[in-house]
């Protein structure tokens, strides 16, 4: 799981062009949206592409997505259970 968490942080940095950040600076349990990393709903559109391309996961609806994108730990948990690649 630690490995997946690190990979997710690297992929999030890449997907959202946060190149001046390091994975260490993204806290695993800190909110990604609003407070914490400060992402917005437009950034979520890139995370959706990331899940689909990298892990073969297609999110069914936005409500589900909002819960999954809570923080890196929650995404990692969801990916490990639902990944198709």
């Amino acid at each position: 799981m630690e490995e997946l968490i690190l990979e997710l942080k690297q992929e999030i940095i890449k997907a959202l062009n946060l190149e001046d950040m390091t994975p260490d600076e993204i806290e695993t349990d800190a909110p990604l949206f609003g407070e914490g990393l400060g992402l917005d709903s437009i950034d979520a559109l890139e995370l959706i592409v990331l899940l689909e391309k990298k892990y073969g996961i297609k999110l069914a609806n936005p409500a589900e997505g909002k819960a999954i994108f809570k923080d890196v730990a929650t995404i990692a948990d969801y990916v490990s259970k639902n990944r198709k690649k």
Binding site: I42, L45, K53, N61, P62
Partner: protein, 141 residues
């Protein structure tokens, strides 16, 4: 991947010139809008087509770099280039040039997203937009 690009010659209105004698920076927003309309007409991705399919496509990001002034009487050309993205976004780059010497006057960038009729952000590519991307070969799969 194909590059999709449209161009339009701008007609500068006298009312767009500010007290420094150059086109006011805010006017460029409307030139970019004109460019999006020209692109939509050329490639079948117009504001009306969004509405016909039940979506709106609001601008959520727009930036400008002003390099040279436009003066009244000039006839600059705006080029609009579609920036391919897999996300449910419409991304464009813009260049305004002086056709006299092809010098660069301004550049810009815009991002649009899709909203449904309830004004909610659409997370996935709407089917009509996905079909459009495939038709113009601006998507990998």
């Amino acid at each position: 991947m194909k590059e999709l690009k449209a161009s339009k010659q701008l007609e500068i209105r006298f009312s767009e010139v500010d007290s420094m004698g150059v086109v006011w920076h805010g006017s460029y927003m409307l030139y970019f809008e004109d460019a999006r309309e020209a692109f939509g007409a050329k490639y079948g991705l117009s504001y009306m087509s969004y509405i016909e399919h039940g979506y709106f496509a609001p601008i959520v990001e727009q930036s400008f770099q002003y390099k040279k002034p436009i003066r009244y009487g000039m006839c600059p050309r705006i080029d609009i280039i579609y920036h391919p993205t897999e996300a449910a976004k419409i991304v464009f780059d813009y260049e305004i040039r002086d056709p006299e010497d092809e010098s660069l006057i301004a550049t810009g960038h815009s991002v649009q997203v899709f909203m449904d009729q309830d004004y909610q952000l659409v997370w996935d590519n709407p089917p009509f937009y996905l079909a459009w991307k495939q038709r113009w070969e601006v998507i990998d799969n």
